[in-house]
Amino acid sequence: MASPFSFFGGFKLTFQHLTRPTVTTSYPQAKRPKQPRQHGRHVLNRYEDGMEKCIGCELCAGVCPVNCIFVRGLDNPPDHPVSPGERYGYVYEINYLRCIHCDLCVEACPTQAITESKMFEFSFTNRADAIYTKAELLVDDQGFPQRLPWEDWREGEAAMTGGWMRATSPSGDASYEGVVQWTGDLGVGVRAPEAGQSDHRDDAATGSKQLRNVFPRHLEPEDVPLDQRGIAARVKSARARMPRRRKDAT
């Protein structure tokens, strides 16, 4: 039997929240950091020697639940091949009026040719712009996604493409978690494995952040990590914020 005063626990909780900082941000002015596995606009990758990874197999188009991908493959020209395989993606189009950013295409791709960047802030004013062709999707000669005039790219969004692929182990086999099974990308090299549930965890290389480290003040007291409790942790976090404040001031 709960205490009769437990009825007022709800009132206490809502009142406490008055004093807590907000979780939401004032969006266009202040933007929250994106998660490393954010599903954004696709990119078509190249190998480190500049060859295209896409082999025109159409698996992405087959798996797409909303039929937004259109691919046609063509035999590689023997004198100057586009991809190392037999065929290459001759036509590659994604209709972003239909895409739901489920990343099934990334999962289906046998050569990690298609991955997703973290950039989702792009708007277009006509239907033709909504259909991205190979000319827009393919990475540039430095290996980074092209920045189109109507897209709003932010720092670090181009660097961490393919977070989803690096996060999962093949066929769900836990023993492969954190094992590199992918080829290098032009301009980036072989990407570090994403932090998983095992001990393979390199947050500095992958940019992973646990949500509880981002908003500790919105957790229940018992869920706050031990090193973030008490006055010492407050001082530590305040110190961590200091340089950023100085930069803002100048």
């Binding site: 709800g10 929240h17 008055l18």
Partner: protein, 410 residues
């Protein structure tokens, strides 16, 4: 002319043009104050509830988003004004005003300060002080039920219709408890006039009705008035998860804005009514500042009213919505017997102490019997000896029962 003076000392020396001007100014000031405070109330509610939910809330229009309500109103006025094809056009257009007018009228009886002297005339800071006073508030809340009911009925749509049925039942059941607590206050005051109710509470916190009547009428009143306002947790009339938008589902544009306006107007008015009836209205500590003594009662009134407005927002942020049968149980089985019993006890004590204790004992006995009756009813309905098949805790509806017995006959 004599009876006018008994209502308001302003009319003691007859109705001159100065008196007329003062009355007009009072009406205009009361109206604009209510309108202004509605805008602030909507902003306050949205800001406070977003803080309680760790959100930011309105922030784009004006400083701290203060002009958000104006922007919303402007947007609503510019929207297309739809009348459904199945609607009863006249009633459909009438209903919003049936909700708005009572909301406006109720505010008129609330004293927001003491008495001023302007141009030799004593002016009560109250738009009007009718002799039947608090009954006007009950009457007006009764009329606003018509607005909600007719709005739902005339929409020609099923969700608004269900909502209007709920509104009628809910308002009637809670109005009884509401009336009974008001009777308790009127018994103690000996007058229906709101001005007299306030003056009878003068002289310190211990004379306020909340203490003088023993807290129970206050609690019953605040619950019943929340139900009367259709505010959470009693907002089954507008339950979004069940009835889309409730009675105003089919309304758009300015008529929807009127419903919205009236709802918040009522919230402010009812906060003010609680303050008036239970917390001594404008009563409070007044420092001896020359020429500014009249400001402090108004400030006290504002502080108390905003406090209760905040309480409504707090309720909304904290409590989940009542199920419809729980709502009816609370109204009929708890609040009405409680307020009725308390009224009898208070009445007994007003006659003599002995009568008070006698009434107390009687009410206690009656309460015990009533509780036992509810228990027996609950056992017969769904207990071990129940003959009715049940789903969860509830007996099956009659139609289902009949079809089940028909099958057995076959």
């Amino acid at each position: 002319m004599n009876w006018l003076a008994s209502v308001d000392p302003l009319f003691a020396h007859g109705v001159t043009w100065v008196v007329l001007l003062i009355v007009v100014i009072k009406v205009v000031a009361g109206f604009s104050m209510l309108m202004g405070s509605v805008i602030l109330m909507i902003w306050f509610e949205r800001k406070a509830i977003s803080d309680m939910q760790s959100r930011i809330g309105p922030q784009r229009w004006g400083p701290f988003g203060l002009l958000q309500t104006l922007a919303d109103g402007l947007k609503l006025i510019l929207k297309e004004d739809l009348v459904p094809a199945e609607a009863d056009r006249f009633v459909f257009k009438l209903a919003p005003y049936l909700v708005l007018l009572p909301a406006l009228v109720t505010f008129a009886i609330i004293p927001i300060g003491g008495t001023l002297t302007i141009a030799g005339h004593p002016v009560m800071l109250q738009v009007v002080n009718p002799p039947m006073g608090i009954l006007l508030m009950l009457a007006m809340s009764g009329i606003s039920v018509y607005g909600v009911m007719l709005a739902g009925w005339s929409s020609g749509s099923k969700y608004p219709l269900l909502s209007s049925v709920r509104a009628t039942a809910q308002m009637i059941s809670y109005e009884a408890a509401l009336g009974m607590t008001i009777v308790t206050i009127v018994l103690v005051t000996g007058s229906l006039s709101v001005h007299n109710i306030v003056t009878s509470q003068a002289g310190g916190v211990w004379h306020w009705n909340i203490i003088r009547l023993g807290l129970v009428p206050f609690i019953v009143f605040i619950i019943a008035i929340t139900a009367e306002l259709n505010r959470p947790p009693f907002d089954v009339v507008e339950a979004e998860s069940e009835l889309v938008g409730g009675f105003h589902t089919e309304y758009s544009s300015f008529r929807f804005a009127i419903f919205f306006l009236a709802e918040y107007m009522n919230t402010i008015t009812m906060s003010a009514i609680i303050v008036t009836l239970f917390l001594g209205g404008p009563a409070g500590w007044v420092p001896s500042v020359p020429h500014l003594r009249w400001v402090f009662p108004i400030l006290w009134f504002l502080v108390k009213t905003v406090g209760f407005a905040f309480c409504y927002i707090w309720f909304r942020a904290s409590l989940p919505r009542f199920r419809y049968d729980q709502l009816m149980d609370l109204g009929w089985k708890r609040l009405i017997p409680l307020s009725l019993g308390w009224m009898l006890i208070v009445a007994g004590f007003l006659v003599a102490k002995g009568w008070g204790f006698f009434m107390g004992a009687t009410v206690l006995l009656a309460w015990t019997l009533l509780t036992r009756a509810f228990e027996i009813g609950a056992v017969r309905e769904s207990g071990a000896e129940s003959v009715l098949p049940t789903v969860g805790e509830r007996p099956l509806p009659g139609g289902v029962l009949r079809s089940m017995t028909d099958e057995e006959d076959d």
